[in-house]
Structures are given as structure tokens and as C-alpha cells.
């Protein structure tokens, strides 16, 4: 039995709590939240032990692991305290707003031999895992370009302030939405060499961004475009999608399906054919012990528990990979602040003059 506590009981925290409470190999020993009210209701009706003080909980309750689902600005300090107590940590995304903090806790986790994982659940979505398998098999040859998108209806009008509306707290479209496609791109292709052309634009929010666009550059000439907007009401709920062009084909994937076009030059993987292939979530999804909101949420928690049981430090969505995602976002923020790389009144280089070749004709 893994003895575990859940910290932060917002939307994600409550979901995690429900799923992990139902896990056959986990005993939830305590919950912690700043709001006493939610805690009292939970304690009254479910009997779970409530804490408003995180440090007091760490002192008083015997634990193996914690799930931290507080606002991102609080992650670094809480993760550090938990690691110093020798606890395995699952932390919500985005991981740490300051990448130095992220690196420090990554080091602490490694030195302590502790399981560490961040809640980028898309890596547990069957269709996105299929993309990874196809890329590793070089099914579409050399990848040249990627389009990673996420759209959904979160901020649809100017409105009141919560932590999610403030970038200093880890709110905003970049941290909340764009983090997911960026994390996927990092998983598929590693960290980019640089970023450019970043736009962090407000639509309705006063203090933070509602749309995020930008380019990620890779050493081998490949590039990725990020296109994210959380003020798009034409989507019923958050939709993350990825399109990848390669020399031998193209892959498109979202949570429901994976569409693959393979050219006649492609290395056709088993079960696939030249031309169009579609794999649906029903083929790609592994069953989970408990379902709520999507298999991927259960699967990532189950993976965390298994890593603890099997003492596996190398993990999917480790702190290290989450810090890599945080770094891309930090680069994008810095890039957006710079504005355009070339302005209309900058001196432009003259176009090279056409040289007329009398002998071989012009080209």
C-alpha cells in the first residue's frame, strides 16, 4: 500500500483525489487545502483526514508520496519540502515558474532516489502514444515540420480575477493550455534549439495571455509551430492536436484518433498500409482500473503508483522533462517581449541581381 496525500483541492486536485482514492494499491492518508470549507465537507462525508497547513501535514502524517495540485507558484516550495521528507512526488503542470527552482528540485529528487512525475496527461493518451511509436519507427521518414495546436473555451469574456488569470501565479493560456502541445513536441523531438516569432496576446484577460503562437527551431532544420487559443468558443472543450510532416508521410492526431498518410517511400509499420490509415481511441486505449474524465488521467496516476512500487526513478513525465517544457515557455516569454525580429523600417538587404548567362540561358 502506498500511503499518499493530496494537496490542493481545486478541479484537478479533486479529480486526482477521486481517482487515487479508488486505486486498489493506495491508501489516502490526508488531504490538504487552504480552504477549510472544502476540507470540512470532505472530512464530514468521507472521513478523510484534513489539513490546512502543508508542513504540519508532512510532520504529522506518515506518508510515502504526495500529489500536489496547488497553483503553480506554490509548486517549487511544496515539492522541495516533500522531497526533503523523502516522499515521492506527483505535481500538476506547469511545473515551476522559475526554471532554476525546477532544476533544483529535479536534482533533489534524483539524489533522493525518489519517483517524480508531472501531470502532462497527454503522454498517456493512446493516440499521442501511437504518434510516438510511429516517429520512433521512422514511419514518415525525416520530420520537417510540426504543427501543435490547442483550442478551447476557457476565457470567453472579461471577468474577475483568480489565480488562473495571473501569469505570476502560473495562470494564462501559455502555462495552462500551450504547455500541453509544447510538452508533446518536446516528447517527440526533444528540446528545441531556439524559439522565434512568439506572440502572447490578450483577448479578454487583463493580466495574462489568451492566445499563444510561436515557432520552435531545431538543430536539424526541423521546426514546430505552436498555435493555441483558449478563448475559442467554437470548441466544446479543450482540443489538443498535432500534425507532423515528414519526407515519407504525414501524421495527424488528437485525443480521439490518429490519422496517418504513408507515401510509397515510407517504412510501413506492421498493421499499417500505404496511403491513409486511421486508428481510433477504441483501438489505442488501454483499460484503466477507474474511469473519470478520460483514461489518461487514471493511467498517469497508476503509472506513478507503479513506479513507486517498482522503485523506478526513470519515469514518463519526470521533473526533468517538465523543466524542459518550462524552459521552452520561459524562452517564449522572453521572445514575445522582444517583439518582431525585423521591423518594416529596418534596412533590408538588396535582392541578389540576376546574372544573365549567355551560354546556358537564364534560370
Amino acid at each position: 500500500m502506498v500511503r499518499l496525500a493530496v494537496v490542493g483541492l481545486g478541479k484537478m486536485g479533486l479529480s486526482h483525489l477521486a481517482m487515487i482514492t479508488a486505486h486498489p494499491n493506495v491508501a489516502v492518508a490526508a488531504v490538504c487545502d487552504a480552504t477549510g470549507y472544502v476540507l470540512d465537507v470532505l472530512n464530514k462525508y468521507t472521513g478523510v483526514k484534513p489539513y490546512t497547513d502543508f508542513d504540519a501535514m508532512l510532520r504529522e502524517v506518515e506518508l510515502d508520496a504526495v500529489i500536489i495540485a496547488t497553483p503553480s507558484s506554490m509548486h517549487a516550495k511544496m515539492v522541495k519540502s516533500a522531497l526533503e521528507k523523502g516522499l515521492h512526488v506527483f505535481c500538476e503542470k506547469p511545473f515551476c515558474l522559475d526554471t532554476k527552482d525546477g532544476e533544483e528540485v529535479t536534482r533533489l529528487a534524483r539524489e533522493g532516489g525518489l519517483v517524480n512525475q508531472v501531470g502532462y496527461h497527454n503522454r498517456f493518451v493512446g493516440a499521442f502514444q501511437e504518434v510516438k511509436r510511429l516517429l520512433d519507427a521512422k514511419a514518415i521518414g525525416e520530420v520537417t515540420h510540426v504543427l501543435a495546436e490547442a483550442y478551447g473555451p476557457v476565457v470567453l469574456k472579461p471577468k474577475g480575477s483568480t489565480w488562473r488569470t495571473q501569469s505570476a501565479e502560473g495562470g494564462g493560456c501559455l502555462y495552462d493550455y500551450a504547455a500541453h502541445p509544447i510538452n508533446l513536441v518536446n516528447w517527440y523531438f526533444g528540446a528545441p534549439q531556439g524559439v522565434g516569432g512568439t506572440i502572447l496576446n490578450k483577448i479578454f484577460s487583463k493580466e495574462t495571455d489568451d492566445e499563444v503562437f510561436g515557432t520552435l527551431y531545431y538543430a536539424d532544420g526541423k521546426s514546430a509551430q505552436i498555435s493555441v487559443n483558449w478563448s475559442d468558443e467554437s470548441y466544446r472543450k479543450m482540443s489538443t492536436k498535432i500534425t507532423i510532416w515528414g519526407t515519407a508521410g504525414r501524421i495527424y492526431a488528437d485525443r480521439q484518433e490518429c490519422q496517418v498518410y504513408l507515401r510509397d517511400t515510407a517504412t510501413v509499420p506492421p498493421g499499417y498500409q500505404q496511403g491513409w490509415n486511421v486508428r481510433y481511441t477504441t483501438d489505442l486505449t488501454e483499460p484503466v482500473w477507474f474511469y473519470m474524465r478520460g483514461e489518461e488521467y487514471s493511467a498517469q496516476l497508476d503509472h506513478f503508483v507503479r513506479c513507486i512500487e517498482e522503485k523506478r526513478i526513470e519515469n514518463v513525465n519526470s521533473f526533468e522533462s517538465a523543466v524542459a517544457t518550462d524552459k521552452v515557455m520561459a524562452m517564449m516569454i522572453a521572445d514575445a517581449a522582444k517583439g518582431p525580429s525585423l521591423k518594416s523600417d529596418d534596412a533590408l538587404p538588396h535582392a541578389p541581381k540576376k546574372r544573365w548567362n549567355f551560354l546556358f540561358g537564364g534560370r
Partner: protein
């Protein structure tokens, strides 16, 4: 309960296979008239129960039904509440308490204010829950709602949290106030049945995925088979086609062979698909279900 119930996923851009299909459906059913036309088609094919969320747009459908009582005299609605997105979004924006406050009726009777306000203050979930149920049921006033469902996102969250008392509160209120049977939608049927049994909720109506390939049947295929054989409950099968992964005939033939299933809920947009499903069910399920005898 009828054997075949009509579901509403297709009307609201929900498709578990393809976002493209979901979007095409959103476009087609943007005009509420298109939804009513499909419901009329289903009705004319003999499908007289609409199992629907408490989405704002359903209120327009209810208005149409109230305006044409003669046309729909034996029609039944099975409301499924709450419309989870509404609450989930409000929770993100206002926190849990703020979200609850937003949906409590703020106008009118003192009773509501007392029931809500006092309950919130006392951390007594019963008053708040019953008020929220009443708020969701308002749109169905004057229509037949013999079964009222709690949606799977909520059922499964409460189930996971071990917050079983809420099931009892829901069941009692639905029976007492609406003279209706409580129903529960879940993705974790065997586990839910255990919880309901423990609470003493007898012979409950439980709607869950039941399909030949075991798609989203959490707890495992065998546990579902065992539950259908051994437990006393009124099963409604949903997702019998596993989002289109199983051909219709194969899917229906299999489901109809399973013991203890009282109804199938399905969604369709065309007369052809509605008629095919109805014919398949009539053919594969010739005897009336046990509870109707």
C-alpha cells in the same frame, strides 16, 4: 422503461471517435428545429423516451413539447444531471463554493435561500444538493420525467471520493419531490453497484457502457458479466456500438444476449440508422424484459 431510449450526444457535438464528426454534428444541430426533427423521426419510429442532459438548449426542446401536448402525449424525458461542463467551468472560474453559489436560485422563495444558505453554512450537503437538483429540473416542469439520472462525471467522482451519502440524498430527493426513480450513469459499474448495495438503495437503475469489446467498461469485462448475472439492478446499456467500433448487427445481437439488461440507449441522426437500430432490437429481443412482465 422502454427497451430503446434515445440519447442526445449527437446533438451537442459529442463524438468519442472523431472531432471532425462532432463538429459536423454541432453545425447540423445548431438550429434546434433540426434536433426536434430527429426526435420526431425517432418518435414516429416508436422511440418515446429521450435521455438528455440538462444543457440549456434542452430547455427549448421542452418548450416545444409543452406547446404540443397532443403530439407527444406518451413521451417521456429521462433528465441526466448536472450538465457537468457548466459546473466544471464555473469551478475553474469561481472555485467550488463560488460555483455552487452561482447555481443556487437567487430569486424568489425564502425557502431556497434558507435551504441553500443554511446548508452552506452548516456544511450540510443535503440542502445544497436538493436545491441544485431543483434548479436543474426546472426546465422539465409539466413533462413526464419518470427516471432522473445523475451524470457519470459526478457519479464517478463521488464514487471515487467515497462520498456515498450523496447518492442517498439524490435518490431520496428524486423520489420524494419528483415521484421519479433515481438513475445512475457510471463508467465503473461493478464498483458503483457495490456502493449502492452498501447504502441499501435497492434494485437501482444503472446506465453504463456495455459492449462486446469491453470499451470503457472499468473494472473489467468479466466483472461486468458477473454483475449482470448476479446483481439485482436494472441495467441500461450505453455505448453498445463502442463509438462505431462494432458493426450494428453484431453489437445489438451481443447486447441482447446479455442477462438482465432492461434498455439500450443510443444516439443517431438519420431515419435510416434509427430504423435499423429499432428493427435490430425488435428482432434480437423478442420477449419483453423480465421487469416489464
Amino acid at each position: 422503461m422502454d427497451r430503446l431510449l434515445f440519447g442526445d450526444n449527437q446533438f451537442f457535438g459529442v463524438n468519442h471517435m472523431s472531432e471532425e464528426k462532432a463538429r459536423a454534428q454541432s453545425m447540423r444541430f445548431q438550429d434546434i428545429r433540426a434536433v426536434i426533427d430527429v426526435l420526431d423521426t425517432a418518435y414516429d419510429e416508436g422511440i418515446k423516451t429521450f435521455m438528455c442532459t440538462t444543457h440549456d438548449r434542452i430547455a427549448q426542446i421542452c418548450d416545444h413539447w409543452r406547446a404540443n401536448p397532443a403530439r407527444y402525449k406518451d413521451y417521456e424525458f429521462f433528465p441526466c444531471m448536472p450538465y457537468a461542463h457548466k459546473y466544471a467551468n464555473a469551478m475553474t472560474d469561481y472555485g467550488m463554493l463560488g460555483a455552487i453559489k452561482r447555481f443556487l436560485p437567487d430569486e424568489g422563495f425564502l425557502d431556497a435561500a434558507m435551504r441553500g444558505g443554511m446548508s452552506l453554512a452548516k456544511k450540510d450537503i443535503e440542502g445544497v444538493t436538493t436545491l441544485l437538483i431543483d434548479a436543474e429540473m426546472k426546465m422539465f416542469q409539466g413533462l413526464k420525467t419518470p427516471v432522473i439520472f445523475l451524470q457519470n462525471v459526478v457519479v464517478d467522482m463521488l464514487l471515487g471520493l467515497n462520498f456515498k451519502e450523496a447518492f442517498r440524498i439524490f435518490a431520496n430527493h428524486v423520489k420524494a419531490r419528483y415521484d421519479a426513480e433515481p438513475g445512475f450513469i457510471t463508467m465503473n459499474m461493478p464498483r458503483l453497484l457495490d456502493a449502492l448495495e452498501e447504502l441499501g438503495i435497492e434494485n437501482p437503475i444503472v446506465c453504463s457502457n456495455i459492449n462486446k469489446i469491453g470499451f470503457r467498461m472499468c473494472g473489467g469485462f468479466e466483472a461486468y458479466e458477473r454483475a449482470l448475472k448476479e446483481k439485482r439492478f436494472r441495467a441500461i446499456a450505453m455505448s453498445v456500438f463502442a463509438s462505431g467500433a462494432i458493426p450494428p448487427r453484431e453489437a445489438i445481437e451481443w447486447v441482447c444476449r446479455q442477462p438482465n439488461i432492461e434498455s439500450i440507449v443510443f444516439g443517431a441522426s438519420s431515419r435510416g440508422n434509427i430504423r435499423n437500430t429499432k428493427e435490430l432490437v425488435d428482432r434480437c429481443w423478442p420477449a419483453a424484459p423480465a421487469s416489464a412482465l
